[in-house]
C-alpha cells in the first residue's frame, strides 16, 4: 500500500507545532499501524535524519507512545482520521492494522488534544493527569494484618462482573481525547464504579468520589454531556452506566455533607 501521512510535529511542549506530510510505500495491509510508523521512522533515519541529535531544521523521526503492543498497557494513543485509536472498535492503536485503510489514502495523525494532556513532543502527550486523579482516591486503604481467606466476603456474581468490566480500564486517555468537552468522566467513573461495587471499596466510596472529581476538575478536564462518544471509542468498551454510578456516588456524598 502507498499512503500519504499528515503528521503533527512539535519539537517540545513549548514549541509551535504544525502538520508535515510524508509518503510511505510498499506497506503490507497485514502490518500494524505502529509498524507502519516504525517503517516511516526508519525511512527518516536512513534519509539522514539523526534519531538522537535533532539538528536545526531537521526534525528526526516521529515521536509516538507505545509499549506492550498487544492492547493491554494503555500506552499507545493517536487520534487517527478523527478517531481516538483509529478507525476500528474496541481496540487500541497498536491493535489497528493497515487493512482498515485503502491504498492511496491520506491519513491524518494527531496527538490527544486536552488541556489535561499537554503535548510533550510530536504525538506524545503527558497523561500524568490520570495518575494524579488516581492518587487522589482511586485506591482502597489496606491496613496491615494477617492475610484474609480468599472469598471470605461473598460478592454477588453480577456485581463482581460489573466491577471487573470497569476495572478493565487501561487509562489510555481515549475517553478524554474523543469527548467533545475533553471530559475524563469515563476514566474517573470506571475507577470509582469498580471499587464502589465491591465491599472492600464501598467503605471509602464517598471520599473517593469527591476527591477524584475534585482533582479531575482541578486538572482542567471538561464536564460530561452524555454524548457517549467515550464509550464508543474506549478500547475496553466501558459503559457510560458507570458514569451514572459515579454521579450517584458523588451527589449522594455531597448532599450528605
Amino acid at each position: 500500500m502507498n499512503l500519504t501521512l499528515k503528521i503533527w510535529r512539535q519539537a517540545n511542549a513549548k514549541a509551535r507545532g504544525a502538520f508535515e506530510t510524508y509518503n510511505v510505500s510498499d506497506i503490507s495491509p497485514d502490518s500494524s499501524f505502529l509498524e507502519m510508523l516504525d517503517i516511516l521512522n526508519l525511512q527518516l533515519v536512513r534519509a539522514g535524519k539523526d534519531p538522537v541529535v535533532v539538528e536545526k531544521g531537521c526534525r528526526g523521526p516521529v515521536a509516538f507512545d507505545h509499549d506492550c503492543r498487544e492492547g493491554i498497557c494503555g500506552m499507545c494513543s493517536l487520534y487517527i482520521n478523527g478517531r481516538a485509536h483509529g478507525p476500528d472498535d474496541d481496540i487500541t492503536t497498536c491493535q489497528l492494522h493497515m487493512r482498515k485503510f485503502k491504498d492511496g489514502d491520506t491519513i491524518t495523525i494527531e496527538p490527544w488534544r486536552s488541556a489535561g494532556f499537554p503535548v510533550v513532543k510530536d504525538l506524545v502527550v503527558d497523561r500524568g493527569a490520570y495518575d494524579k486523579i488516581l492518587q487522589a482516591g482511586g485506591f482502597i486503604s489496606v491496613n496491615t494484618g494477617g492475610v484474609p481467606d480468599a472469598n471470605a466476603i461473598p460478592i454477588p456474581k453480577p456485581k463482581a462482573d460489573e466491577s471487573m468490566d470497569a476495572a478493565a480500564c487501561i487509562g489510555c486517555g481515549a475517553c478524554a481525547a474523543t469527548c467533545k468537552n475533553g471530559s475524563a468522566m469515563l476514566f474517573v467513573a470506571a475507577r470509582v464504579s469498580s471499587l464502589a461495587l465491591l465491599p472492600q471499596g464501598k467503605m471509602e466510596a464517598a471520599r473517593r468520589a469527591k476527591a477524584m472529581v475534585a482533582k479531575m476538575d482541578e486538572l482542567g478536564f471538561g464536564a460530561c454531556t452524555n454524548t457517549q462518544a467515550c464509550e464508543a471509542e474506549c478500547p475496553k468498551g466501558i459503559s457510560v452506566a458507570h458514569i451514572a454510578r459515579l454521579n450517584r456516588e458523588f451527589l449522594s456524598a455531597k448532599l450528605k455533607d
Binding site: K6, W8, F19, Y79, N81, G82, R83, A84, P87, T108, E110, R113, S114, A115, G116, E162, T178, K180, N181, G182, S183, V213, A214, M216, D217, G220, F221, G222, A223, C224, T225, N226, T227, Q228, A229, A232, E233, S239, V240, A241, I243, A244, R245, L246, N247, R248, E249, F250, L251, S252, K254, L255, D257
Partner: protein, 217 residues
C-alpha cells in the same frame, strides 16, 4: 453540600434539575395548546384559568427562574468545556454520537432565539399584562388564530418545534443519567422514553400551527 455547585457534576446537577422542571412545564403548555384546536371556548377558558389560578401565578416566576438557571449554567458549562480543549483537532470527531447530544448548546440557542419571538407574539399580550396591570387581549383565541394563520409564522414555529425535538430527545434521558438514575439496563429504556416524550411534545405543538394555517378560516 459544601462547594457542590463549584464541581462539574454539581453544575450538571443544576442543569438536569432545571431541565426536568422545564420538561414538566412543556407537558402543561402542550395540553393547553391543544384546547385551541378543540374549540374557541375551550381555549379561552384555559387561558382564563392560566390567568387566574393562584398556583399558576406562583409558578410563573418560578418557571422564569428555571429558564434563567438552565441557560446561565449551560453557558458556564459550555465555556468550561471549551477551555478543556485549547487546541482543536484538525479532523472533526468521527466517533459515534447522536447529532442532538453533540449540539445541545447550539440547539438550546435556537430554542432560546425563537422563544423570545414567541413570547412577544403571545405571552407579552396575554399573561404578562395581568402581572404588570396592563390590558390583556380580550380574545386569546383570535390572537392565536391571526398569528398562526400567517404561513411565515407557522413555518417559523415548525422549525422551532423540531429543533426543540432534538434538544428534548437528548435532554430527557441525559437528565436521568446526570442524576445517576440510570444503569446498563435503563439507559436504552430511558432513551426510548426520551424519543417518545420529545415526539409527544413536538407533535402536539405542531398540530396547532398546522391546524390554523390549513383549516382556520
Amino acid at each position: 453540600m459544601a462547594n457542590i455547585f463549584s464541581s462539574s457534576i454539581g453544575k450538571k446537577f443544576v442543569m438536569s434539575i432545571s431541565g426536568a422542571f422545564l420538561l414538566v412545564f412543556l407537558l402543561l403548555h402542550a395540553s393547553i395548546n391543544l384546547a385551541a384546536v378543540a374549540s374557541e371556548e375551550a381555549y379561552n377558558m384555559a387561558c382564563h384559568f392560566m390567568d387566574t389560578n393562584i398556583l399558576i401565578q406562583i409558578m410563573v416566576p418560578v418557571l422564569a427562574l428555571g429558564f434563567v438557571v438552565h441557560i446561565v449554567y449551560a453557558i458556564i458549562l459550555t465555556l468550561h468545556n471549551m477551555k478543556a480543549r485549547p487546541v482543536k483537532y484538525a479532523v472533526g470527531n468521527q466517533a459515534e454520537a447522536t447529532f442532538a447530544s453533540r449540539n445541545m448548546f447550539v440547539l438550546g440557542l435556537i430554542v432560546l432565539g425563537f422563544l423570545t419571538i414567541h413570547l412577544s407574539h403571545f405571552w407579552a399580550k396575554m399573561q404578562l399584562q395581568h402581572f404588570v396591570g396592563g390590558t390583556a387581549t380580550e380574545n386569546p383565541y383570535l390572537l392565536v388564530k391571526t398569528t398562526l394563520s400567517n404561513p411565515a409564522n407557522a413555518i417559523m414555529y415548525l422549525v422551532w418545534i423540531w429543533a426543540l425535538w432534538f434538544h428534548l430527545s437528548h435532554g430527557f434521558w441525559s437528565a436521568f443519567q446526570t442524576l445517576g438514575a440510570s444503569n446498563q439496563i435503563w439507559i436504552p429504556r430511558l432513551k426510548v422514553a426520551s424519543y417518545i416524550y420529545a415526539t409527544i411534545i413536538a407533535v402536539s405543538f405542531t398540530i396547532v400551527p398546522l391546524y390554523f394555517v390549513l383549516f382556520a378560516k
